[in-house]
Subunit: 485 residues, 2 copies
Amino acid sequence: MLTNSTRRAVGHRPLRRPAAYFSARLASSSSSPTRTQKLAAWSAGLRYDDLPPVVVQKTKDFFLDWYACAIGGRHHAAVQAIDTFAKEMGPTSGSAELLHRPGGTSAAFAALVNGGASHVVEQDDLHNSSMVHPATVVFPAALAVAQATGANGKDLITASVAGYDVACRIGAFLGPSHYAKFHTTATAGIYGAAAASAHLLKLDAAQTLSALGTAGTQAAGLWQFLVDATHGKQVHTAKAGFDGVLAAYTAKAGLLGTADVLEGVNGMAVSMVPGKSTPEALDNNLGGEYSITESSFKWHASCRHTHGSADGLLQLMKEHNLSAADIEKVNCHVYAAALDVLGRTVGAPQTIHQSKFSMGFVLAVVAHRGRATVLDFTEEALSDAELDAFRQRVNMILDPEIEAVFPEKWQARVVVTTKSGQVYEQFVESAKGDPDQSLTQEELEEKSQRIAEYAGVKDMAALEKTFARVWKLENETDLTGFTIV
Amino acid sequence: MLTNSTRRAVGHRPLRRPAAYFSARLASSSSSPTRTQKLAAWSAGLRYDDLPPVVVQKTKDFFLDWYACAIGGRHHAAVQAIDTFAKEMGPTSGSAELLHRPGGTSAAFAALVNGGASHVVEQDDLHNSSMVHPATVVFPAALAVAQATGANGKDLITASVAGYDVACRIGAFLGPSHYAKFHTTATAGIYGAAAASAHLLKLDAAQTLSALGTAGTQAAGLWQFLVDATHGKQVHTAKAGFDGVLAAYTAKAGLLGTADVLEGVNGMAVSMVPGKSTPEALDNNLGGEYSITESSFKWHASCRHTHGSADGLLQLMKEHNLSAADIEKVNCHVYAAALDVLGRTVGAPQTIHQSKFSMGFVLAVVAHRGRATVLDFTEEALSDAELDAFRQRVNMILDPEIEAVFPEKWQARVVVTTKSGQVYEQFVESAKGDPDQSLTQEELEEKSQRIAEYAGVKDMAALEKTFARVWKLENETDLTGFTIV
C-alpha cells in the first residue's frame, strides 16, 4: 500500500485524460482486467435476450413489491421534506414521475424522492448474503431513468437485473466489517443505481466503469441515525438513487470516474472495510447466477427475524387446528442475531415500530389474525389485552444448531404447548418469501393492496391496472403512468 | 462501543420523532450539550455584529480569491460534464447563478457546478491545521443560498464565517488518519456548506444540528482518483456543496438528522477515523478565534511545498540584485513532506501539471520571470531550454530543524551560489499568502486577473466591477450579477 505522502505524489500526474484512456485500458491485452472492469463490462453488455425466464419473472415480482413499498412510505416526514427539497431545487416538469403526486420532474429527483419513500415501511426485499436491500435503491433510479429516456419494459428489466447484481455483488465484496460501520444498502446500493442508470443510458463498458468510479467516491451512510431514531435511512436510499443517477449521467457527459474504486490502493476496501473484503464476489460466475433470484420478499410486516417463528406457528395451528385460545406457550428456538435484535423489546412494546420487533407481539398477532400485515400493527392492537397476554407466553431460546448455519440459513424451530398439555414442534428451514418459497403473484398483489390501503391510496383501481401492467412488463412500450393518488 | 447486533437493536425505537425532540435536547439542563451541539448552536447564533473587523475583511479577501478560482475552472471536462447534468436535471431558471454562463438555476445546482469549478486551478486557500480547502466548499453553497434567499452581503459574510469554522474545526477533529483515507475537503467541507446554508436559511440551533447530522451521513470522498488522475476531486467539491445545501433545506423542511454524527457510537469518528480524532477542535474557543483568519492564500500557481523556496529565492535575487543568469546553484532546505510530494518529479516535467510540482522548474520560472502565476506554466515554458537548464541547478535537501516544526510551520532555507562564487542564504519562516503575511487587496486583484485571463474571460471590466463590489460586500443589498463571460 502507498503511504500517505507517496499517494499524494501519485496525484501529480496530469489531471486530464482522454476518455479513450479507459477504453484502451479495457481493451488492453497486456494487463488482465480488474474485477471491477469485468463487472462493469458485464453490466454494460447485458441484453434482455440473455436473461433466463425465471430472472425476468423475478424482476417483475420484485418491481411490483418495490412499487408497493415506495407507495407505502409517502407520508413519512422525511419523504415529505425530501419532496419539498425536490420542489425547491428541481424542475417543475419532466418525464420522470414521482409516485405519490402528479407533476413530473427530472430523473435524478424522481430517484431521490421515490428512493426516500421506498424503505419506510420496511417491507422491501433483502438479499441475505450481501445484507443489501436492493429494490429500494435500484428500482427508483431504474424507473426514473427509463421514463426520462423513453425506455421500454425490456430495457427496464435488463437494467434492473444489472443493478441488482452490481449492488449485491459489491455489498458482498464489502462484507460484514463494512456493514458494521456503514449502511450497505446505501454504500453498495449507489453502485446498483449507477449501473441500472448507465445501462438505460446505453453507456459502454468504459463509461460504465467510469460511472461506478464516481458512484464509489460518493458512497456514504452511517448507522448513527439508529441511535436517536432520526431520518438517516431515508436520506441514504434517496441519495443512493440520486447520486447513482448523477454518476451515470456525468459519465455519459465525459466525467472520468476512477477505474478501480473498489480494490484500488486508495479505494473503498482500503478505506471503508476494516476487516476482510471478498473480491471474488465481484465477478464470480457473472451471468451464470443472478442476484435478483437470490433476494427474499418480506411477507410479514415485522422484523425479518420473527418470520421463521411466525411461519412455524401458523403451520402448527393449521395442521393441528389450533386457535390462539388453545395455546399455553410458544418457545421459539432461534439464532443469536434474532435474540440480539429482538431482545431489546422484551417488555410490552410502546410503539407500533417496536411492536414489529417484539417476537411475542408478532406471534400474538399471527395467532389471533392468521397474518401479520402492515394493517395489523396499530395503536388498537398495541392496547389489546388478549394480544398482550399471548405475547407474555412467548419465549426465545438460542439454538446452537440453528446458530451454526446462520446467516447462510435463517432457520427456526417452534414448540407449541397447548392448554390441554399437548406439545407440537415445527422446524422451519426458511421463511415464506425466501427464494425457495417465493411469493406467488396473488400473494404479491395481496401484500401490495394492504400496503396501499395502509398508505391511504384512494385509487385502488389504478393499483389493479398496475398489477396487470407489471405482469406483462416486458411488453410495455410506455413506462409512464405509475403515479397513484 | 456497541456491537453490531446491539446497534441494530437500538434502531428498533420508533422512527418518528417530533422536531421538538431536538429542541428539548438542546434546552435540557439535565445533560450537558455535546461538542457538536455547541458547534451547531454557535453557528446558528453567529451575528454579523459579533464579527471583529479583521474577520469581515478576511472573508471578503477569501471570497474574491475563491471567485477567481471558480472562474478559473470553467473549462475543465469534469465541470462541463457536471454542468450538463445540471442542465438535464435542474431547473432552467432560478435566482442562484452559475458563474460561467447566464441563466439561473436553483441553489443546489449552483453550488454543484460552481463548487466543481472551484478546485480545478488549485489556487484556492488552504487551512493548514485541518488540511481543508474551505473556500471551495463553503463559498459555492453560501453564495448560491444567499442568492436564492435574497440575502444581503452581511448575511453572506456571516454565513461564510460560520461555514469556515464548521468545516475547519471538523476537519481538525477528523485529523490525519482520516485524511489518509478520505479527501477531507469533501468529508469535512460538506459540513461547512451545510452550516453556511443553514445560517442563510435562518435555521435555529436544533435545525442546524439536524443539518449537520444529514451532512455527516452523506460525507464521502476517496483518494483513489489520484491513482489514475481522474475527476474525483471535482465531484467531491461539487457534491460537498450540493449535499450541504440539501442537508440545510431538508432540515428546514422537517427532516431530522442524527444529533451526534461526529462523536456518536456509530458516528464518523468510530466509522471513518482509523486513528485518533481531536474532539476539542470542535468547540475550543468558539467565537474567540475564527478559522477564516487561519487560512492561507496561494500566491504562486505551483504546489504549496514550493512556495517557501520560491519566496526565499525571490528575496535573495532582489536583495543582491541577481538575475537568473547570475545563479550557479540553488539548494532548497525543506521538510520531508516536500521531498515526498515533489520528489516524484525529479526529471524534466512532461506536463503543465507536473511542472507545478517540480521544485527546479518552479524556481526556474521564478528566477526568470519574477513570478509563478497560472500564466507562466505553459507548453512553451515546458520546452524552454533556459528554464530547463536552470531547473537542473536546483536541489532539495532535508533539513532536520525545519522538519521538526512541520506542519505547524512550513519553513524553508534557500542557499544560492552565484557564478562568481558568492553564497547567499535566506531563511523563510512562512510563505507569502500565509496568515502572517497575507495578500494585499492589490495582490488579490492581480492574482484574480491572471486567473481570469488564463480562463479566457472576455469581460475584464466586469471583473473590475466585482472587485469593487467585494471590497464593500457588507454594503451589498443585492447579491446577483456575479456571472462573468
